[in-house]
Symmetry: C2
Subunit: 229 residues, 2 copies
DNA sequence: CAGTATCCTATCCGATACTG
DNA sequence: CAGTATCGGATAGGATACTG
């Protein structure tokens, strides 16, 4: 019984969208995610069973469509319908409100480096990559400590939890909370570098190009706008 | 554990707003509801315990404020904060999306005449009431059958489940589903009257004035806009 | 009017394993 | 890759009754 029993457009909308995780799934799909395992990676804490259930509910609600390719090895893609794309306003509304009224510095529980790197690897400006291949190592410290690697080529971006072995081009050393705030637009790249809270090392050409390799968080604009107001 | 653990403005917004009933409470407060029992009446199916909990969560989230008047007999009012008023965009976004993509004819479960009358009594244009007192009787038929009364004065609107005894001024006879659709803007008053699906009787002056006594549903505009598109 | 208190059930989550 | 199956523990939610 997830229905409200009210003949009201908002109640009907919430019957489709109001369950836990559902609007975060839509958020990820609006930014281009199409695969089950990608969605799962972007939603740490959701169980695979529950994600499958939510995707079924979104299909039933007419928000997404399931498409199967190749009948042999399963390859399923989920795509937004026209109704799903129309949720952009709702998603942006929540993003803007959250940025203005519910967003502070990250809590320790929110400092998940793997989620941050997962987001980053999805937001690489491939057209900004001049070289054949760039290897970036991230050394985080603070509450969580660890090293992660991104291997960037114009065709492909790979996230590694162990040293991929290639020659390193850029080394980023940063407090994890600070880098999260940078990613979300709460502090500027210039400030982070100037205060030495984020250190980017490598040959000057790569160091200069580094900030342009990423599109940064889709929410960064809303966060900056909220801070200026 | 209602947190998502994501450092993202939308996830943070949904940690405050994403629970069942919460955004419907905000919807009702945006349209002017301030009292606990009024909220409960507008949300059939919610338990008093859960409503109290949600109101506490909305306070903790900075969306509403609780104000106590008179220490003797308890009189509490809930008011939106600035952050709460800022949710108007989110609420309207969901309303518009619901009207466009999730709103059809009412299901039998949604035909609650008491909720309809509760909504109507909240949306009376008191400045349109010329007389001292107008008594309107609603006779519904269809899935649910029953009679209800509204007693309208410029100072006060009362909803009665039994004949209030005063002289009747207007008698409305209608199929409940049809009157719901009229209330929500899915059909026009002219069409409903012309097709005799809604019958309004009384002295001509009252009958002519009747449709102006109500502001109709706050969602009617969105529903009409969605139907034209 | 404005809530608590209590009990019970449905759902969710986390882990683990398995399938085509 | 894309799920389903199962199981146990933890909450969330609903029904009902009671209070200052």
């Amino acid at each position: 019984m997830s229905a409200y029993g009210q003949y009201c457009p908002m109640a009907k909308a919430l019957e489709i969208l109001g369950d836990r995780w559902t609007l975060l799934i839509v958020r990820d799909m609006i930014t281009g995610t199409t695969h089950f395992n990608e969605l799962e990676r972007g939603l740490p804490g959701i169980s695979r069973a529950l994600l499958a259930k939510r995707l079924r509910q979104l299909q039933d609600g007419g928000v997404i469509q399931k498409r199967n390719h190749r009948s042999g090895r399963q390859t399923t893609e989920y795509h937004l319908t026209e109704a799903g794309f129309a949720l952009r306003d709702v998603v942006n509304g929540l993003l803007d409100w959250g940025a203005a009224w519910a967003f502070g510095d990250p809590t320790p529980q929110e400092l998940d480096p793997l989620l941050l790197l997962w987001w980053m690897h999805q937001r690489v400006n491939r057209d900004q990559l001049a070289d054949d291949r760039v290897v970036v190592q991230f050394d985080f410290y603070g509450a969580e400590t660890g090293s992660y690697w991104l291997v960037l080529t114009p065709d492909d971006v790979t996230l590694c939890l162990t040293d991929p072995g290639y020659e390193l081009n850029v080394l980023v050393t940063a407090d994890l909370a600070t880098f999260f705030k940078l990613w979300l637009g709460r502090i500027s790249y210039q400030d982070a570098i100037r205060d030495s809270r984020v250190l980017v090392e490598g040959i000057p050409r790569h160091v200069r190009a580094f900030p342009r390799w990423f599109a940064w968080s889709p929410a960064a604009g809303a966060v900056r706008a909220a801070q200026e107001a």
